[in-house]
Structures are given as C-alpha cells and as structure tokens.
C-alpha cells in the first residue's frame, strides 16, 4: 500500500510538468500582450515597452519557460503581473475559503443525494422514484449562476434570512454566508449523486447475495446498509471524488455570484487579465489537488472493497491463495 502511494505520488510529477508546459505555452502563444491589457488602450509605446521589460516579456519564450520552471522547483511561483504580489501567497490565502465551500457543497450533495438515491432504487418506478428523477434531472440541468440568483432573491431579498453575498466573519457569520453558495454548489452535485446512487444500487439489488441475505432473515435495514450500499459505493465514491477534486480547484461561477473570495475567482480574474504567472500558479495548484483527491479516492476503494486492497498488497494475495489451495 505504502509503495503504491509513493508510486502514485511520483507519477504526479510528469502530470504537473505536462500541465505547466501546456498552460505556459497556450497562455503565451494566444494573442494579446499582457502589458497592453494591464495598461489599457491609452498607454504610450514607451510605457508598453517599459512594462514588457518589467514583466520579463522581452525575453524569448523558451528562456521564460526555463526560468519559470527553475523557480518552480525552488517553490517560487513568481509574482502576479497585475498586482506584483507573490502568486503562492495569493493561492494559499484563497485555498481555505475554497476548501470550506467545496466541503460544504459536497456535504450538501451527499446529505441530499445518497438517501434519495437509495430510496429511488428501493422503490423503483414508484411516484417517489419518478419525482426524484425529475428533480435530479432539473438539478443537473439548472445552471449554477441562475440557481444562485434565485436562492439569493428568495432567501436574502424576499425573506431576509441570509446574506446575499460575501463571506461572513465569525463562526455564525461564516455559516450564514455559507448556506446559499453551498446549496447552489451542492444541488448540482446532489443531482449527480442521486442518479449515480440509484443506478449503482439497482445493480446490486438484483444480486444473488442479496436474496441469500434476505433468506437468512437479516433485516431489510441491515441488508440496505451492509450488503447493498457498501457494495454500491465504489462508483459513487468515484463520482463524488471527481466532483470534490473539481470543486477544490474553485467553483468559478458560484464564487463569482456569491462574491466568495476563493481560488475560482482568482483564476477567472487572472485569465481575463492574462496574468500568466497567476494562471499557472492556480492551474498547478488545481492539478495537485485533483491528483491528490484521486489518490485519496483510490485509497478509499481499498477500505470499501477488500478485493482491491488485496491487489495492492501482493504478499497478502499469495498467503490467501496458499490457504485456499
């Protein structure tokens, strides 16, 4: 298991190299001069040239890439073009905010998604199943920015219960400001979780071992919990893991609508201003987070399914075979 984790961590290096290479060259080769974007259409030629030199844009592309990578290996993500503040500190500043939102969003998705998914599967083709499927279809299809605005209009403007935007201070303030963005983010993800849970449960429900369990007289509750759900969890964990990895990189739309100061907004702002170091820094961070969550999901498989755990550890497999034979 330990070896597997180390191997996976080493495999992240080429992934990150590929990411930096692609993003650096795409950002640098797409038309548009960062100096012109920073200074606007009223800047003089001299001012533009001064700015280019200040940003190091007067050097050849490959030299810039080599310098960037050299600094990266020393943990230096460079300075933002726009505000000249170190990229790493800006990304780290914003990460906790994004993490809070991502975790809350996923919690909302799980709290809503898994029970409804289980109920739908167990009561397949009933009114309850059809209703939840329609709602989850609406949930998947509804754009976040629209749902966010509707929630704001209802809970902030009409009812006056919650703040319409921003990240509140203090525990209660934070929780109050978290409800709407987490609901917005969680609803879309919940819809996916409902559908995934339902289909995965339906596959398990028809297995012989479920009939055997029932024949043994185990209660329906125990069957659902221990025999159905546990076996149905692998695809659900995969889907939730992917969603979580994405959310950790910043939920751009939700963060923008609710003025949540997270990574997503930092990234949108830096893309529109062609702030290459800032985009690179955020993308590298996002890639690391994504790879990391994927690794966690893979490790989680082992705990959910002993067969997978045995594959990680060959010694265990041999011993078991020995016993059986």
């Amino acid at each position: 298991m330990g070896k597997y984790i180390i191997r996976r961590l080493i495999m992240m290096i080429p992934v990150l190299l590929g990411v930096t290479f692609i993003v650096f060259f795409i950002m640098s080769l797409t038309p548009g001069d960062p100096a012109a974007i920073i200074l606007g259409d009223q800047a003089s030629a001299e001012a533009l040239e001064m700015k280019r030199i200040e940003l190091g844009l007067d050097k050849p592309l490959l030299v810039r890439y080599a310098t960037y990578m050299g600094n990266l290996f020393q943990g230096d993500l460079g300075l933002s073009y726009r505000n000249q503040i170190p990229v790493a500190s800006q990304v780290w500043d914003k990460f906790p905010n994004t993490a809070i939102l991502a975790i809350s969003g996923i919690l909302v998705a799980l709290i809503i998604g898994i029970p409804i998914g289980i109920l739908s599967a167990k009561k397949q083709y009933t009114v309850m199943d059809n209703t939840s499927m329609v709602f989850s279809l609406v949930g998947v299809s509804m754009p976040n920015f629209w749902l966010g605005l509707l929630l704001s209009l209802l809970f902030a403007l009409k009812l006056g219960w919650l703040p319409s935007q921003g990240m509140g201070r203090g525990f209660i303030g934070l929780l109050r400001s978290l409800v709407l963005p987490a609901l917005t983010l969680g609803t879309g993800a919940a819809a996916t979780v409902v559908r995934m849970t339902r289909s995965s449960m339906l596959e398990v429900i028809r297995q012989d071992y479920i009939s055997t369990a029932r024949a043994k007289g185990i209660t329906e509750k125990q069957i659902t919990k221990k025999h159905m759900l546990k076996n149905a969890l692998i695809p659900i964990v995969t889907a939730v893991g992917l969603q979580f990895g994405l959310l950790l990189g910043g939920a751009m739309l939700t963060e923008t609508i609710f003025s949540w100061p997270g990574l997503g907004r930092l990234m949108v702002d830096s893309i529109t201003s062609k702030d290459i170091p800032m985009v690179l820094g955020s993308v590298i961070f996002m890639a690391v987070m994504f790879s990391f969550v994927n690794l966690l999901v893979d490790i989680l498989y082992a705990f959910l399914d002993p067969r997978i755990k045995s594959q990680y550890s060959k010694k265990v497999v041999r011993r078991r075979r020995g016993v059986v034979v």
Binding site: G32, S44, K51, Q84, D93, A156, P163, G166
Partner: protein
C-alpha cells in the same frame, strides 16, 4: 437514515436561527444618528494599493481616499483646487512653484515635506503603469522644505490637471525607501482615510484619519466590498447590505428607480466610444465617405436601444465634463444625404469594409447595430471581433478599416485626448488610430497644449472641435453613463464623472 434526517433538521433549524441573528451591519452602527461605517459595493478588486501601479478605477476608488495629490479637481465645478499644495504660482510657461501646506503628516506620523513630493513624482515618472500622466515633467527641484519647483519639458497647459490625477499621489519617501513593496498591500498616505485591512477579492477597509488637514471625515469606516456579479450588487443594495453600489447593471436601473428606499444617480462619464476611420486606406481617405458614415448613424437610437437609454449621443471624442469641451452638435441622422455624399465620393453603390471591435459584449452589440445602419446606405460592414491585445496591436499597425474604440479623458483636460488621438506625432500606439496628420489640427492641439492661459486654450479647443467635425476622422458615437445606487439614508454623496468618488463628506443616517 435517522441520522441523515437529524442532520437535515439541524441544518434547517440553524437557518431559522441565523435568520433571527443580528447582522454585522447593525453591529457596526455608531452613535449620534449616523452609522459609523459606509459599505460600498464595487465590481472588481483593488489591483494594487500603490497609487503608482494600481490605475484601474476599482483600485483608485479606494486609494484616492488614502493618498492626496498636490492639487485636486472639484467634482462638481471641475476647477483645480489646492490639496497638498496650499497654493502655486506659474513662474514661466515651463515652471510651476508649489507651496506645500505646513504641518501635514502621513498616516504613520511622518511629516510630509518637499522631499516626499519630489520622491513621489520621480517615482510616478519611472513607473511603467502611470508615467504617461506625469512624463511631461522634466525635473522636480526642492527649493526649501516646503517648496518645490516643477519644470516641464515644454510649455504644458494641463500641468495642474495632470498633477490632480490620483496616479500622481504623494507617498512617504522614508516608508517606501525602507520597504519598496510596502505600498502594494499596506499603503500609507496623507489622505482622509487610513488603510486598515484588505482581504483580496473580498473587501478593503479604511478608517478615518483624525488629523486630516480638512478635519476628520464624516464617517469613521469605509468598507469596499467586492461583488463581481452586478445583479448581486443590486440585491445587496436592496437588502441593506450595501449603502452605496457602483456600476449598476443597465437592466437593474429601473428596479432601483422604482424602489422608494433607494436613490439612483446617473451622469455622463468621461468615456466616449467612437469609430476611428483608417485615413491611410481607401475609401476612408475620402472626407465625404467619412462624413456619410457619420450621417448614417442614428446615435440617439443606439442610446435608447442598445444602451437601454443610458448615456448620451456623442458629438465629440471628449465628454461634456472635460475642460475644453465645445459642443458642435450631434451629427444629424440623414441617410438620404449620406447616400448623396457617397455618390459624390464615387461610391454610388456603396462598398464593403470591416469594423473591428474587441470581445466585449456591449461593444460588439453596438457595432452590430451600426452595421445595420450602414447597410441602409449601401455599405456592407463585416464586424470582426477580436481579443483585446490583438485588437490593440493590429489597429496600432494600421491594419484596420474602421475600429470601435473607447477613450477616457482621465485628466478631465481636453489635451489628454486631443493630443493622443488627433496629433500627427501620436499615430498608432499612443492613440491616433485614424492616422490623421493635418497641420491645422496639429497647430490647434499644440496651442491648447502649450498655453498656460485658459482662455487661449478654450478658444483653441473650440476651433479644433469645429475643424475635427469637418474632417470627420472619427465618428463619436456615445458617452457612457456613470451610475451608482444608494439607499436614501446616504447624505452628501456626489457622483464624479470620472468614476471614482470621494466619500470623506458622506454619512449614512441610522
């Protein structure tokens, strides 16, 4: 399942609990009938608190409360008024002597002297971001502790107005020398408000500077909240989370107007959108063609439809609030006469050409409407949308037929725009993308630029405006509007056409 239901119940009851909780805003309330905090919503964050770097409106909206300049312009009258300099004298056409107010202190307690003024102006000149505002200065000489002599490279009429631009802010020399990056995140100035905190992409908080030379500001704290989504800014204004909201979405204007608890403020900005004809290319080298296009555009219709009634039809490339503006009257919409002019120019059946615009939705929509108007006089226009950097670099190289540009007269002085857009020495990157090179235009621009006599300048700009209307190298289209919404408890808020407003005199009744 029970556990999950319990969690749901807890979650819902928490929402109900929070609903009853006191909001942060109420907790900020001060005594004496007025709140101690004004909360302002704006669409973008401060790029840099360093006045010599952060030149974007959202940055200056905050930093112009922290830093003062040598002189200031009155937001209502547009007149130049004293600030750090209590008075000044024009020694010669190239020399201005400024007498610095004694007893001024920066927020860190250091005295503000001639040394800081020289250091600041030299720093602004060397800045890649804002040098264009102050690069007319040849030298800043310290005459004594409270007197500086600013020498310009050539006689320069708009000297005072340029020095009033917030990018020429005065910063503390000792603090900046000891910590060159300090201003970016912990700014120290001598303005009416002191910096308290900045949470990037969230908010910036300022506190009243009790020792400000004009007296402490009316309200103790200013909190600038960053709310990128415009409709959310309106909602936050309606819920009372904001006292003032900048840049109201056009579709929200009516909602604010109809809400009796809110006040909508609107004024023409200093921004003009215009089409530049590339006079190096046929058929735009023909004056009649340029005049025909000007006549074929129904500007008021564009304001009423594409701009939903905000802004105003433009008659010049400088806005009415700019010093030197002379109204030549908006071009009459007359497609018949336009067709006649095209015929006289040798294009009875019209022609095909392109109109370039950068990828900004409202600009593109404006160009599409103009495209239809020109189709009526036989001109087939292809609207080409491109990324901003490409748009600027290719139009700088003169590859365009027509380009749709926007220009802000940041200094509120006509020279800033006329020199960049109309002078033959400024072709390409500096701004003259119609590539006009007319000796009479150059003479009038130079006269307005070099004279220190305001009457001479105004006369020159009047003649210039009439001359340019005749040449028609550009087609001014619209002046955009500056908008803001406030709740009706806000007192003393003045909308500045430049887009960043001074809030030291503003207070909000509880």
């Amino acid at each position: 399942m029970k556990k999950i239901l319990t969690v749901l119940v807890v979650l819902l009851s928490s929402i109900a609990l929070f609903a009853g909780g006191a909001s942060e805003r109420d907790a900020d309330a001060g005594s004496g009938g007025y709140k101690d905090t004004i909360t302002i919503g704006q669409g973008a964050d401060v790029t840099s608190f360093d006045p010599h770097i952060g030149k974007e409106t959202p940055a200056v909206a905050v930093t112009n409360h922290i830093f003062d300049t040598l002189v200031d312009t009155d937001p209502v009258t547009g007149e130049v008024v004293p600030q750090i300099a209590e008075r000044w004298e024009v020694v010669s056409p190239v020399e201005y002597r400024f007498f610095i107010r004694k007893g001024l202190k920066f927020h860190n307690g250091e005295d503000l002297t001639a040394d800081d003024v020289k250091f600041s102006l030299d720093r602004a000149i060397a800045s890649g971001s804002v040098s264009y505002i102050v690069d007319f200065i040849k030298e800043v000489k310290i005459e004594d502790e409270y007197t500086v002599l600013v020498t310009t490279k050539a006689p320069y009429g708009p000297t005072l107005r340029n020095l009033a631009v917030p990018f020429a802010g005065i910063v503390p020399k000792d603090y900046v020398t000891a910590n060159p990056d300090g201003l970016k995140t912990k700014p120290i100035g001598s303005g009416p408000y002191k910096f308290v905190s900045w949470a990037q992409n969230d908010n910036a908080k300022l506190e009243a500077y009790a020792d400000y030379y004009q007296g402490a500001p009316e309200t103790k704290y200013l909190v600038f909240k960053i709310i990128p989504e415009a409709s959310q800014r309106t909602i936050a204004l309606e819920t009372g989370e904001l006292d003032i909201s900048y840049d109201i979405l056009v579709s929200d204007l009516k909602r604010i107007e109809e809400n009796k608890d809110l006040v909508l403020l609107e004024a023409p900005s200093l921004t003009c959108f215009y089409i530049s004809f590339n006079m190096r290319k046929a058929p735009f080298d023909n004056q009649k063609v340029r005049q025909a296009i000007n006549m074929a555009i129904d500007r008021q219709l564009l304001v009423d439809t594409v701009n939903s009634g905000t802004g105003a039809a433009a008659d010049e490339i400088i806005a009415p609030a700019v010093f030197g503006y002379y109204s030549t009257g908006v071009w009459d919409y007359n497609p018949e006469k336009a067709k006649q002019l095209l015929k006289e120019a040798g294009y009875p059946d019209g022609f095909e050409c392109s109109l370039w615009v950068n990828n900004n939705q409202s600009r593109v929509e404006m160009c599409q409407a103009i495209q239809e108007m020109l189709r009526e006089i036989g001109i087939t226009v292809k609207v080409e949308v491109m990324e901003f950097g490409t748009f600027i670099s290719r139009s700088t190289a003169g590859e365009h037929d027509m380009g749709y540009f926007g220009w802000v007269t940041s200094t509120k002085d006509a020279d800033y725009t006329y020199y960049s857009l109309e002078h033959s020495s400024q072709q390409g990157a500096p701004g003259n993308r119609s590539f006009i090179a007319d000796p009479e235009v150059d003479r009038l621009v130079d006269l307005g630029r070099t004279s220190a006599d305001m009457d001479v300048r105004l006369d020159a700009y009047k003649d210039l405006a009439l001359e340019l209307k005749e040449i028609a190298n550009n087609a001014p289209i619209i002046y955009t509007a500056i908008t803001a919404g406030t709740n009706n408890a806000v007192e003393g808020f003045v909308l500045d056409p430049i887009g960043y407003h001074k809030l030291e005199g503003v207070k909000v009744a509880k």
